[in-house]
């Protein structure tokens, strides 16, 4: 079975007053059907930009996708999303790929009703009549756990709490039963208790629908209970890709190790200091031809400064872009 989304060599740049911003610098990944892939990285790692680039949601001046391919196994056969015309891309968005965004406070149009904003997706992609779409919207609102759907159908976003608005966001994403859902930090802006509820709801829906999910986050904690595989991004590149458990128990990239070390753990023995990674992320205005993590890496050696490591398989179903072998404690054999 081919992966439902196969992205190779994605490069996205932005032309700004300060210069060219190298947001995404060659990212490869695959998303299998029904699997949940978490994309983890700090702010500026390019994780959001990469996903938005694939679906043409990057503002086009100043942004541009320089290269790459994104083969999507849609209902009409395989298509390279990066080569689709804007019109065809519009048919994919919303219907075959659904989106959930971060800040429910600003993601909904303040002057339109909830019902209107959900049903417009249905009218656009599924050709429903007003009555049909209204019924479907009411069902959706129930599915995402919003009480009193009839009332909420006529409500405006400001009349709902943050958690409820995010549920509306989920309803919009699943409305047309898409094959992929891309969720860009959907719980970051929510209270912790609400976060848990939303994640639970999402898991239930995902399992019911069997949809493939790309879950973008900087919070490793959420990832553990939700994702099958994880891709760690740094400086616009993929640093490590692995199954969830493998990543947590056996990280193979120094950056991942750093991230995990910075996580507070309930099962820590004695008092363990939180380890933070020295230094700051590299300036995206500068394109480097060596490992971008070298400055902050305690294991860097001359080769790290000479060439850029490529994402290679270093263990079963486990890839890392690093010249250093953390297990053996020395540079990897070529």
């Amino acid at each position: 079975m081919p992966p439902i989304l196969d992205v190779k060599d994605l490069v996205t740049r932005f032309d700004t007053l300060d210069g060219v911003v190298h947001a995404v610098n060659g990212v490869d990944f695959r998303l299998e059907e029904g699997e949940t892939l978490a994309i983890v990285g700090e702010s500026g790692s390019g994780k959001s930009v990469a996903m938005m680039s694939i679906l043409g949601l990057i503002p086009s001046p100043p942004g541009r996708v320089e290269s790459g391919s994104a083969i999507f196994q849609g209902p009409g056969g395989p298509q390279d999303l990066l080569r689709l015309s804007p019109k065809d891309l519009r048919d994919v968005r919303g219907a075959q790929v659904g989106f959930i965004f971060q800040d429910p406070g600003t993601t909904l149009n303040p002057i339109l009703t909830i019902g209107d904003q959900i049903s417009e997706i249905l009218t656009r992609h599924m050709g429903m009549t007003a009555q049909q779409s209204r019924n479907r919207v009411l069902t959706l609102l129930e599915d995402v756990g919003i009480p009193d759907p009839e009332l909420r159908y006529k409500s405006y976003p400001f009349q709902l709490s943050g958690g409820m608005r995010q549920r509306v966001g989920i309803a919009m994403a699943i409305a047309c039963t898409p094959q992929i859902i891309i969720a860009d930090e959907p719980t970051t802006a929510l209270d912790v208790t609400v976060q848990a509820q939303v994640v639970d709801l999402f898991k239930r829906l995902r399992d019911k629908m069997g949809v493939a999910v790309i879950w973008i986050t900087h919070d490793l904690g959420v990832v553990a209970g939700l994702a099958h595989r994880v891709m760690v991004m740094y400086a616009g590149r993929a640093a490590e890709v692995a199954r969830v458990n493998d990543l947590y128990e056996h990280p193979l990239h120094p950056y991942t190790l750093g991230l995990l070390g910075a996580l507070p753990r309930l099962d820590a023995v004695g008092s363990r200091r939180l380890v933070s990674i020295d230094g700051t992320p590299p300036d995206p205005l500068i394109s480097v031809s060596h490992c971008p993590f070298a400055w902050r890496c305690t294991h860097a050696f001359p080769r790290c400064w000479a060439e850029a490591p490529r994402l290679t398989t270093v263990a079963p179903d486990h890839k890392a872009a690093c010249f250093y072998d953390l297990d053996k404690g020395r540079p990897r054999d070529a």
Partner: protein
């Protein structure tokens, strides 16, 4: 919603009181309103007699109270020049000014909104540059000067429009155009910047992510959000036009409130000036109130808000 209206109304009334207070005291800022209003050649006895007749010798508080109670029922005293009650003279001029401002606003909208939309939707394009240049001109040309030049070219030299008065249907064209030009530039800039702002909002990205047709995104999501603050701006600009048409009316001899003001100043007919100032403020304040209400009706956050 009702509370919103009532609070705005209360505010307007307070503002109106403030305006009246200012109008009252401005006349007395030189200390002697009587000599202000009499001509230079008047003798001290004449001035004293005038002072008595107008009641300027009474305690200030009494004068102020009389003024307020009089103004509340529309009594601003008599115009010195015409010898008849001031307010009806002002009211008689209202339709002409409204016509001028109305046509001017229409012209401003017809020019400003389309150019602003184009500029906001296609920033940096040729049309945008043209629009911005027109906006710059509208802002930079002194309106009374433009009034004179246009009158010279189109009325006197080319004879296309009447140069004076309000007698013909086309009389309103030149003055309204001049009045509307500056406003059109404001509307153009406002429209353009609002469109740019709205387009960069998160919910527009959401609309794109739903795969909606561009037409839907622009008409339903962008423009509706642009329209709301725009209504506010249009209302305010209309208020400026109603209150700021002095020069245009003076130059084109347009028989509106502005012309009367200029004449009244020349005649040193300050009761009339006072009546004009207060009444114009009333008109502008009412307009602001109406605009606020329209805004509230359009924006559901205010209509249904706490």
């Amino acid at each position: 919603m009702l509370r919103y209206f009532l609070s705005k109304l209360a505010l307007s009334i307070v503002l109106l009181l403030g305006v009246m207070t200012l109008a009252f005291f401005m006349l007395r800022v030189t200390g002697d309103p009587a000599s202000l209003m009499m001509s230079r050649e008047a003798s001290p006895e004449q001035i004293e007699a005038f002072r008595e007749a107008m009641g300027f010798n009474r305690p200030l508080g009494v004068q102020f109270w009389d003024f307020l109670t009089g103004a509340a029922v529309g009594d601003f005293g008599n115009s010195l020049h015409y010898g008849s009650p001031a307010l009806p003279l002002v009211l008689g001029r209202l339709p002409a000014t409204v016509e001028l401002a109305g046509v001017g606003l229409l012209m401003a909208l017809v020019v400003g909104i389309p150019l602003g939309l184009v500029g906001g939707l296609n920033p940096g394009s040729a049309l945008d540059s043209i629009g911005r240049f027109i906006g710059l001109l509208g802002q930079s040309i002194p309106n009374f000067w433009l009034a004179l030049i246009l009158m010279l070219v189109f009325a006197v030299r080319l004879g296309l429009f009447p140069a004076f008065g309000r007698d013909e249907l086309t009389s309103v064209v030149l003055p309204a155009f001049v009045l509307g030009l500056a406003v059109s530039s404001q509307i153009l800039r406002m429209t353009r910047s609002t469109v740019l702002e709205v387009r960069s909002e998160d919910y527009i990205r959401t609309a794109h992510s739903k795969g909606l047709q561009p037409r839907t995104i622009y008409l339903k999501h962008v423009l509706r959000n642009v329209a709301i603050p725009l209504v506010s701006v249009i209302g305010v600009q209309f208020g400026y036009m109603l209150g700021g048409s002095i020069y245009i009316e003076a130059i084109y001899a347009w028989p509106g409130m502005g012309q009367l003001l200029q004449q009244a100043i020349g005649w040193r007919d300050f009761p009339l000036v006072q009546a004009l100032t207060v009444f114009t403020s009333v008109v502008v304040l009412t307009l602001n109130l109406v605009t606020d209400m329209a805004y509230a009706l359009l924006d559901p956050r205010i209509r249904y808000g706490r």
